[in-house]
Each structure stands twice: as structure tokens, then as C-alpha cells.
Amino acid sequence: MTDTVALALTARLLALAVLFQTVEYWQMRSRLRPGAKWDWSIGRTEFHPPLARVLDQFLRWPNVLALVGLRLVAAIGLALVPNLFVALVFLCTTLLLTLRWRGAVNGGSDAMCLVLATALVVATLPHPLATDVALCYIAVQSTLSYWVAGVVKLRSVSWRRGTALSKFVRLGSYPPPTALLGLLAVPRWMRMLSALALTFELGFPLALLVPACTGPMLIAGAVFHLANTYLLGLTRFLWIWLATYPALVYCASQLAVG
């Protein structure tokens, strides 16, 4: 895979993820109205008044819907005709939405979206290294996201015992699936599944460092995110992390060549 192909795939997968995110924002638009739960008049008080007045132009109702729409247009533009201006529009609209939700509406998925937005700005800079640096940044952040998550879990006694996994599934956004209730009650199974998740997360750097492991690890990653989507409803994580995989494939192949 060449750097151009990897970057194009990244931009297209990102556009797909942003399309799904935009549909979600549209479905939740009534929550953004004045008086509703995400009323900008509350959040804006965190900013100094002059800055708040500037942000009002983008984040108040109904302007915020135009901002969400512009972000989608920029994401699609990046997938079709990548250039610095469009990349900057996508980064700025994403940053503004980040402010609207006090940092994140969906935690890590927003952070990874910002990683991709930043990388695409770098990739469109007129410098011979730009694409490689951007793809490396995405690949390193993607690898770190699994590895750091694995390390912090490994430190936790409840994760090593398997009780944490059972707890997160039981207390997740969805009620636990009826078919899994029996499994969740068996400590031995929970320990085994926890060990499997920890092994995958801690071993993920192999996807970047050992080319023979890249394919299997990325397939395992997709299955991991599908399971999280089914059990915990983490849909945004699935699509935004898939968008980082072309960069991983490219960087792993380049490290092998090097």
C-alpha cells in the first residue's frame, strides 16, 4: 500500500464515520434547542464573555446545525479532493463541536476524530514528509490507544479477576443480553474473557511492529470493536478506529521495508 492510497482510504473511512455522526446529531437536534438539555446558554458561561460571543455565532441554535453540516461537507471534501483548506475547515468545525460538548460527546471517539483531523491537516501541508508524518501519527496514536488501555486495565485487580468486565457489561448503556447473563455469572469465563481482552490490547503494538501480525491483529481489532458496539453501544468507536487501520497497514509495511 502506498502512502497516497493509505491516506485516501483514511479520509474515506473518516468521511463515512462523520456521515454516521452527522445523522446522530440530526436525530438529537431537539436536545440542542434553547431550554433543552444541551442548551448552549449554560455551556457558554464557561468562557470569557468576548470569546463566548464569538462562539455564539457557531454554537448557538440553530447555527450549530449548520456547523455540523459544514463538518460533513468538509469530511466528504477531504475524501474526494484532499487539500489544506478543506482539512482546516474539518479540524476547526470538529474543535468547535468539541467545545459545544465540553470536551467530548462520546469520549475517546471524539479524541480519535481529532487525531485524524489533525493528521489530515498535516498530510495536506506542502512538504515531502507530510503524508508519512501524518500516517505515522495516526498509527502511533491508534496503537497507543489499545496499549495504554491494556496497561491501565492490567494494573486493576478487578480486571485481572474478571469482575470488572462483568460489571461494565451489566452497568453498560444497554441492558446485558439475556443470552449472556449465565456467562456473566461464571467467574472462570469472565477471567478468561478479561485475559483475552487484555492480551489483545497489550499485544496490539505487534500490529505495527511485526508485519505478519498486522492482518490478524486488525481483524481482531474489528471483532473487538464489534463486540463493544453490541455489548456497550460504542458505535462511534467502531467506525473511527477502523479509519485508523489504513495508516497502521502502511506504517507496518514501511517498517518491514526499513
Binding site: 445523522v23 446522530e24 436525530q27 438529537m28 431537539s30 434547542r33 434553547p34 431550554g35 433543552a36 438539555k37 442548551d39 449554560i42 455551556g43 458561561t45 464557561e46 468562557f47 470569546l51 468539541t98 467545545l99 460538548w101 465540553r102 470536551g103 467530548a104 460527546v105 469520549g107 475517546g108 479524541a111 481529532l114 489533525t118 515531502p128 514528509l129 508519512d132 508524518v133 505515522c136 497507543l144 490507544s145 489499545y146 495504554v148 488501555a149 491501565v152 486495565k153 486493576s156 470488572a164 462483568s166 460489571k167 461494565f168 452497568l171 448503556s173 444497554y174 441492558p175 443480553p177 464489534l226 458496539t229 456497550l232 453501544g233 460504542l234 458505535t235 502502511y250 506504517c251 526499513g258
Partner: protein, 195 residues
Amino acid sequence: MVATVTVPGQHVSELSIAYLGWLLVGLAVVAWLCTRRSRELSGGLAHLLKALVPSWKFFDEAGPVPRLFVRTGTSRNTLGPWRPHAPRPCRAWWHLFVNAPVLEHLADETTVMRLVDDATTTFAENPHALERSVSYRLVDRLARIAAVHDGDDGREPIAVYQFKIALCDEIGPVEDAVQSPIYTIEHAHCAEAYR
């Protein structure tokens, strides 16, 4: 001065040390700002900095989870039982692509967690100021909307509500982290906007 930099697939000697130096200084400043405690680094831009330097610590703490509970009544003396502020969403096949119900649920959970965090850090020594904080006002809005919905079933109109955030485990609430006073609902302000 020119540095030799090796990147995958290329051997390039065009990046200046000055450029790399400024990049490293910039990253160091951002990282330093992000590691400051929230009381030192407050305001809306702090959220932006934290988002720009992700921690990737997913599901690391398996302790009790903060949950918002609301109770309502027709007067201060007739408050009903505590109820979760919103039911958990149900699965659907299209949630593989678009999942607004869970996104909304998770965003509300984050709002609640931030209030608990603020109550135990930024406002730990000044609980009276907590009520004026953005986190508190956002959670109050969630509770108020839940209270208004509670009156949708045609009983007597809801006049008052109260909310609390309880730390819950798999069995149920373990202890209360935040409890509000009893508030009245201004029906003139909540008509369609809360729905």
C-alpha cells in the same frame, strides 16, 4: 543546522532542528497543561486541551458508577420515590451504524460524572459555589426535563422535583455523592423546549 530524520520508507535530511525543537516544546506545553489539576486549569478551553491530548484510559476504574436519580411531587411534602432519570436504550440492528440513543445516554452519563468530579475536586471546599457551576446546572437541566416527563402520564401536574447522584454497583445505589435541594418547576418555561 540540519538534522537527519528517518521516517518509514524515506531517508530525509531536510527538517531543521529548530522546527523539531519548537514542535517538542509545543507538545511539552500542551502535555503539561493537560496534567494540571482541573482547579488550576478551568474554563471551557481546558476541555479542548484534554481532548487534544487523549489519555486512552478506557474502562480502567471498575468502582461504583455515578447515576442520576430524580423524584417528583405535587408539593414539597408529597415527593415520590427516587427513579433513574432515564431508562437504558434498547438494542437495534441499525445501532451498528447510527446510535443516537446510546450516544445521548453516554453524554448524559459524562455530564453526571463531571459534576461528581467537580464536587469532589474543584468545589470540595466550597460546596455552595457548586450550585452555580456549569456541571451542576447541566445536571439540574437533565433532572428538570426528567421531572417534566414524569408529569406526562396525566396525573396531577408535577410542581417540585429533587435530584441526587448516587454511586451504584451491580446491585443498586451504594452511597449518595450529590443531592440537590427541592426545586419548583416553572411550567411557563418548560413547555415544548423540554420535550
